[in-house]
């Protein structure tokens, strides 16, 4: 059984004139200890999916449909208090910008201790010892000296390590890392990714790794889900999708990645831009930009279906005409 199972998730934001659907019919699953990469253009709905899983969609936004199960238990319709126990305890979070993730008026020690105390019955002294262990584990040098420092006294990379320490305070089984390296220097990025991979390996923590960086995905993830305009267009094992992407959008994405060694062909770009939420076309959302679009693509919205061994794709090119939607 999968650790996290998301079924036909739909997230809506009521706007002035009409309701915007930020996440539409998204299904995905993450096994224990697995790293699922989630990629897609800005605005594709990656962060909203992550927020929905931890129950932090900001009102008036809401989960309008679907189910989210964690370890078999339905967590999308729990009362607020129970949701809070899932957050931090079962599912940890790492945000994009370590500069703004930490409260500037509290020391990192205070923030760690309060998080530990929120999820356990430890004494304050014990919580502090645990905080020191965590700082050590995420690679902060001389934690005993750094624990009483304020966030601004840390560099960006060190702050992101503190954020990761906060995410693993209660040893969660899943970490949702929303672009954990985007705001960091390139030289620091690989260190943070290495840290996440090590945690995943040593503790068997599963990670949902949201990123724009296909390189990070290739290096880190076991499987990858590609999102476009609020939907998953392709999902499958990383190596398979990197080698032979099926969806025209994924193909475009792959061609736009610079590759070492193959400097022959110029980088391709997908023409046009992803539609904004209020102008998503009927049919396949990608058809205006798709080189292979047919008449049917303008009318029928493709469902995600299995192709090859374990990859799924939502594209009519792979639909054998037996649409049952």
């Amino acid at each position: 059984m999968a650790l996290l199972q998301v079924d036909r998730l739909r997230v809506e934001f009521p706007a002035r004139q009409r309701t915007l659907v930020a996440v539409d019919d998204v299904s995905l699953s993450i096994d224990a200890g697995e790293v699922l990469g989630v990629v897609g253009e800005s605005g594709a709905g990656k962060s909203v999916t992550g927020a929905a899983i931890i129950g932090l969609i900001e009102p008036p936004g809401r989960i309008a449909g679907g189910e989210i199960r964690f370890a078999g238990r339905r967590i999308d319709c729990l009362p607020d208090d129970a949701k809070r126990h899932i957050r931090g305890r079962e599912i940890g979070s790492v945000f994009q910008d370590p500069l703004t993730s930490l409260n500037p008026l509290f020391t990192v020690g205070q923030q760690l201790v309060e998080t530990i105390l929120a999820h356990s019955d430890r004494t304050a002294a014990d919580a502090r010892r645990h905080a020191l262990r965590l700082l050590e584990e995420v690679g902060i040098p001389a934690p005993a000296q750094r624990i009483d420092a304020y966030p601004h006294e840390f560099s960006g990379g060190m702050r992101q390590r503190v954020v990761i320490a906060l995410a693993i305070c209660a040893a969660p089984r899943l970490i949702i890392a929303d672009e954990p390296t985007t705001a960091l220097d390139v030289s620091i990025q690989s260190q943070i990714i290495a840290l996440l991979k090590r945690l995943c390996r040593e503790h068997g923590t599963a990670i949902m790794l949201i990123t724009h960086d296909m390189g990070v995905i290739a290096e880190t993830a076991d499987r990858v889900a590609v999102m476009y305009a609020g939907r998953i267009v392709e999902v499958g094992p990383v190596r398979q999708i990197l080698r032979s992407p099926n969806h025209p959008y994924t193909q475009g994405l792959m061609e736009s990645i610079p590759r070492l060694g193959s400097d022959s062909a110029p980088l391709a770009q997908i023409d046009g831009a992803m539609p904004r939420l209020h102008e998503i076309p009927v049919g396949c959302a990608f058809h205006p930009r798709c080189p292979d679009a047919s008449e049917r693509c303008r009318e029928t919205r493709p469902a995600l279906r299995m192709v090859a061994d374990s990859a799924s794709v939502a594209c009519l090119l792979f639909d054998d005409g037996c649409a049952d939607d």
Partner: protein, 366 residues
């Protein structure tokens, strides 16, 4: 980012704002240095600015003597001869060069010597000192009242934006901001003194003289007499603080670190009252401190409405009799209090907010 500049868009709708601006300008500059030297440099710089402000205030106070009326004329009777007047001018030093007179004026002021009142023939310093406790007690109580109600109401309306109680409170506060102080005072007098007869409408009640301070806090009548004037004087500040706390709360609740605190699974109570409130209160400290200065300065109106025997009332009476020594002494003293409070608030702010140091560094870098 957490710019301190943002924190400075303070709603300070008072006459003292020019002083405050003069004093707070240039706060967020400065080189990247170790904490202690930066702190010292910061304090020294602010001290220099304060002295500059005080210099100009003293200049204005001094010029009042030069341009408003002739001191000799004010001091002598009609029957005094021209020779006697000239002699008096000489003994008062009024024939010396202006700069010499100004130097004398400043050095006297630093020893708290503001001369003799034309009207009362008593030392101005003594007169003002005897009035000071009344004004300070009123002002501090008003500030406490403003804080005690402004902060909780601000927090409530910030956390529960869409309840009917919040809407009522916001509407009422809007009325509070827009009504002039004297009208509020008169309304309160009308309701609580005239109709209900619960509270006195003027004066301080019985005061206890402690030698160097006369207080109304130790007697029932004294306390009762403080209620209406304190509310009148503090109401505007209360609505100001309440709206500030509310908008700061709303802003802080949108920040990433609050979202991250939720993602860490902290209880709402901790997120609202530990994380959000502390961050929201940082600018409130500044504003309240600065407002204390303007409360003291603006006590004039309340003191007039309630015939409160404070410095403001003395100042108003001195204007009617063109008693320039009192007017100039009051001006200097109020400016001094405001400048001193600003200085303390700035230093306090610097000490409280660990970001300020790094914010300066970040700005220096970017």
């Amino acid at each position: 980012m957490f710019s301190t500049r943002r924190r400075l868009r303070l709603p300070v709708p008072t006459g003292t704002s020019c002083l405050i601006v003069a004093v707070t300008a240039g706060r967020v500059t400065g080189p990247r240095e170790t904490r202690t030297t930066t702190m010292l440099a910061f304090i020294l710089k602010r001290l220099a600015q304060s002295l500059l402000v005080m210099f100009f205030v003293a200049l204005i106070a001094f010029l009042m003597f030069q341009f408003i009326g002739d001191p000799v004329h004010q001091m002598v009777g009609i029957e005094t001869t021209l020779e006697e007047r000239e002699e008096l001018r000489e003994t008062l030093g009024l024939n010396d060069p202006v700069l010499v007179q100004f130097g004398r004026f400043v050095s006297a002021a630093t020893t708290f010597d503001f001369g003799i009142s034309y009207q009362h023939k008593k030392p101005v310093a003594d007169m003002i000192l005897s009035r000071m406790p009344a004004t300070l007690e009123l002002s501090i109580l008003s500030a406490l009242f403003a804080l005690a109600f402004g902060v909780p109401i601000g927090v409530y309306t910030g956390l529960h934006r869409n309840t009917w109680l919040s809407h009522v409170l916001m509407t009422v506060s809007l009325i509070g901001v827009s009504l002039p102080t004297f009208l509020i005072g008169i309304l309160l007098i009308f309701v609580f003194a005239v109709i209900l007869g619960w509270l006195p409408s003027f004066g301080r009640g019985d005061v206890v003289d402690l030698g160097w301070w006369s207080t109304g806090l130790l007697t029932t009548t004294g306390l009762k007499a403080l209620i209406l004037p304190s509310i009148t004087l503090g109401l505007f500040q209360m609505t100001l603080i309440m709206r500030l706390v509310r908008s700061e709360m709303l802003e802080v609740l949108r920040t990433d670190y609050i979202k991250f605190a939720r993602a860490r699974g902290l209880p709402d109570r901790v997120i609202h009252f530990r994380h959000a409130l502390k961050n929201a209160l940082v600018p409130v400290i500044t504003v309240t401190g600065l407002q204390l200065g303007s409360i003291i300065a603006f006590a004039i109106i309340t003191e007039t409405v309630f015939q409160w025997p404070g410095m403001g009332l003395l100042f108003l009476q001195s204007i009617q009799t063109v008693d320039i020594p009192i007017m100039s002494a009051y001006l200097i003293l109020i400016a001094f209090i405001v400048v001193a409070i600003n200085l303390v608030v700035d230093i306090l702010y610097y000490v409280i907010d660990p970001r300020l140091r790094s914010a300066r560094n970040a700005e220096a870098r970017s």
